[in-house]
Amino acid sequence: MDLFLQTLLNGLLIGGVIATFSIAFQLTFGVLHVIDFAVGAWVVLGGYLAYYMAAFLGIDGFLVMPMAFVLFGAIGYLMGPMIYNVRNSRTARPELMALALTFGIFTLLRGGMLTVWGFNTHSVPTALSGHSIMIGPVTVPLIRVAAASFAVLIAGGLFFFLFRTRYGLAIRATAENRQNAALMGVNIRRLSANVYGLYAGITAMSGVLMGGIYSVNPEIGLRYTLFAFFVAVLAGLGSLGGALVAALLLGVIEAFVATYGGASYSHLAIFATLFLVLLVSPRGILRRGL
Amino acid sequence: MTAQAPAPGDQPILFVRDVHKHFGGIQAAAGVDLEVGRGEIAGLIGPNGSGKSTLFNLVAGMETPDRGQILFDGHEIGGKKAYTIARLGLARTFQIPALFENMTVSGNLLAAAAEGHWHGAQQRADETLALLHLEPVANNRASDLSGGQQKLLEFGRVIMRQASLILLDEVTAGVHPNIRKIILEAIARLREQGTSFFVIEHDMEMVRNVCDRIIVMDSGRVVTSGAFEDIVQNSEVMQTYLGRPQ
């Protein structure tokens, strides 16, 4: 029973961790209609920023998070219009060209990081790393709780922003239909810059947490991209609430299969689940996808 | 509404009885009854949201009716796949042109004939291009056409189907008078060959000139049908229809 509870908690926290880098990703698809291959690169960049801040200035990972948001938010803001232009160009398959563009960005960033920062694996120290508390028989790792809370906070914040503010309304109108947005007087290019910047900033922040929980090297980005994609599709593309549910589902499946079925089957189970869910419910588990 | 389907031979080309369809809480078709006779051009009018497009989708196989009977040329087609119905000889246009955008204009025509009417397709495509005055743009990408030309091409694809019944969804809406003229000539030509038409149209002038009979829909039901002049004289119907601008 204790192991069962611990497994459940592990699963929920793995899900929370996956959610941290998957939620903002929904924004790019929902609003910009772009599948961003570079999501993993933003995660890794955030991790590196935190690593260097800690190694040279001794700044705690959590304090680096706002820095990561500002820095990579600004970079994303500058890149947003380029991605928007490709996505809305008059080529035969603009959505594919946008995907290829983000794949190119991902490859460029990965190659750049390998060249500049080398190949070693680093770890980001944070105030909560390695600390845990006991609740009854269950060990609760605090950094993962922080990550899961971050995910919930971001999801809630984005939800509030999109559904309770005027600018959020503009974003949703744009997502729905560009003509609507133009009629409302929304500057779509600026909006896409803002959205991509917001997404890149949030994702880089989650990268700080990933560096604290796991470790950072330039080659692990693809793993995050893979999971962000899977969560997005399982959730229904563009669905924020779905992303939380989907991430938790993946986490719980991984934990239970690893604990009770054999860890080597855990990823087989995750991918098979995703595949089957898609066949049964093509727009994600909550059937809310675009 | 328990009328039996008419015997083959003198049966109408399209026979719709008690067809229902709802989307969520919206009843888009609430017991539709209508017929389109052989060689007839039937016009379908009604306010926006009255269920005209849903009816087209039900007949063409894009939607499955909740219940009811749809006979096309004696075949039960309710809930059948769109391509099956198309192969039986029913063709349709879409309200928003649904072209094969990355194919050439002649490619669009040939693709329309690819299933079931392939023999002599190239020659018929050339004839259709000539009929619709699309020869100069035959090798252009469909997406590069003007709006009016897109309507023409959409109509051209339907011609290539050599269909016995053609559903036209606002095929002349918003097009230049010259293009409308080309379309009307083509309709007349096909009619001579015995093709039946079922037409959604908002333009009363067009309805008057082209349609043999008018069917009026409102709130998912057929309200009335008859000759254009009769319908116009029935002020209640016109109130329903014209009283709600589109």
């Binding site: 698809f29 599948i35 219009p81 232009n85 809305n88 008059r90 080529t91 035969a92 398959r93 603009p94 959505e95 060209m97 995907l99 563009l101 794949f103 190119g104 960005i105 490859t107 460029l108 990965r110 190659g111 060249t115 560009r178 693809l222 893979l226 994609f229 899977f230 997005a232 593309l237 991918f271 098979a272 995703l274 595949f275 898609l278 066949l279 093509p282 | 063409a60 894009m62 796949k81 769109a82 391509y83 198309a86 192969r87 063709a91 349709r92 649904a98 072209l99 094969f100 990355n102 194919m103 040939l110 693709a111 329309a112 690819a114 299933e115 079931g116 090798n139 252009n140 694809r157 189907r161």
Partner: protein, 332 residues
């Protein structure tokens, strides 16, 4: 008219010229470049197989490596001591196994659209990779070796034959027959294609199976050529990624686009790899190259040579448009 005829003859002459050069390549270059050419032919063929579904039918398959891998494993397992099947016999068996998988997977998956289809196929490829990793008959994660056959010319001509057949088949089916018309029609507007009597589910499935089977042939030859495979090396996502990028660079949905993209990317990769090989810098160069092509050659390299008609802009237009950001299409 005379102009088109002339162009057609020039094109044919060019094609024959290329084929002659390729056929004579083994006596023209050394073994290393022959090996590179073998790889380039393989990638040109794989890119073409991906383009069948991705370019002609508009379904983006992110798990195409699954079929490459099935072909490779079929050959590796069948040529092993347990079965000792001769190499050429493993190819059709691999094709049959691949076709079965493709039908079973394709029928339900092809109901999905856009990104959902793309990621469902990715998940499928990951399932196969994980499966090959955890079971024993594939050699597990440690991989599986094949009896080495050290004749580089055999593999060159095997890839050459497979690639030529692939392109001929593509030309015949997608450019010269009504099957191609149906496929392109459903790509551009599926409901309209249905309304034209086209059984889109069937046509999609046929295309999916065809593209899968072609990939499996290359997988079979690849396994025997490289003599060692493991789950990552044949099921890995980077294999599909490369095919996708090659097709996009070359020109999506065109016959020669994948060949141009495949050969160009593979050669550029190998050249950068040769000269910058002791650093990871070539990865960054590759990424920059992809970005530049997307920004400035959105119709792929093949688009540079395509006949421009109607209102489609010139390359210069596109370049200027991208730089000045003035092109805002209305398509969503």
């Amino acid at each position: 008219m005379a102009q088109t005829m002339k162009n057609r003859w020039a094109g044919l002459l060019l094609l024959v010229g290329i084929l002659v050069v390729l056929a004579l390549l083994p006596v023209l270059v050394n073994n290393y470049w022959l090996r590179v050419a073998t790889g380039a032919l393989m990638w040109a063929g794989l890119a073409c197989s991906w383009n069948m579904l991705g370019g002609y039918a508009g379904y983006i398959n992110f798990g195409h490596s699954a079929f490459f891998g099935i072909g490779a494993y079929a050959t590796a397992i069948l040529m092993g001591a347990d079965f000792a099947v001769p190499f050429l016999a493993t190819i059709p068996i691999g094709m049959i196994v691949t076709a079965l998988f493709a039908v079973v997977i394709g029928a339900p998956t092809l109901r999905l659209r856009g990104a959902y289809f793309a990621i469902a196929t990715w998940a499928f490829a990951e399932v196969l990779m994980q499966f090959a990793t955890v079971v024993d008959f594939t050699g597990g994660t440690g991989g599986i070796g094949l009896p080495p056959f050290l004749n580089e010319r055999f593999f060159y001509f095997a890839m050459f034959a497979a690639a030529v057949l692939t392109y001929f088949l593509t030309w015949l089916l997608f450019e010269r027959s009504r099957f191609g018309l149906k496929v392109k029609a459903l790509r551009d507007h599926e409901p309209a294609a249905e309304a034209m009597g086209i059984n889109t589910s069937l046509v999609k499935l046929q295309t999916f199976v065809l593209s899968a089977v072609v990939a499996s042939v290359f997988g079979s030859i690849f396994a025997y050529w490289v003599t060692f495979i493991n789950p990552k090396s044949v099921f890995g996502g980077d294999i599909t990624d490369q095919m996708v990028v090659m097709v996009l660079l070359g020109g999506l949905g065109s016959l020669w686009g994948p060949a141009i993209g495949g050969v160009a990317l593979f050669f550029v990769n190998r050249l950068i790899w040769m000269y910058y090989g002791d650093t990871a810098f070539y990865i960054a160069i590759l990424g920059a190259a992809i970005i530049l092509v997307v920004l400035f050659l959105p119709n792929g390299i093949a688009g540079l040579f395509a006949r421009r008609s109607g209102k489609s802009g010139s390359v210069l237009d596109t370049v200027l448009g991208r730089l000045l950001g003035s092109r805002q299409g209305g398509r969503s």
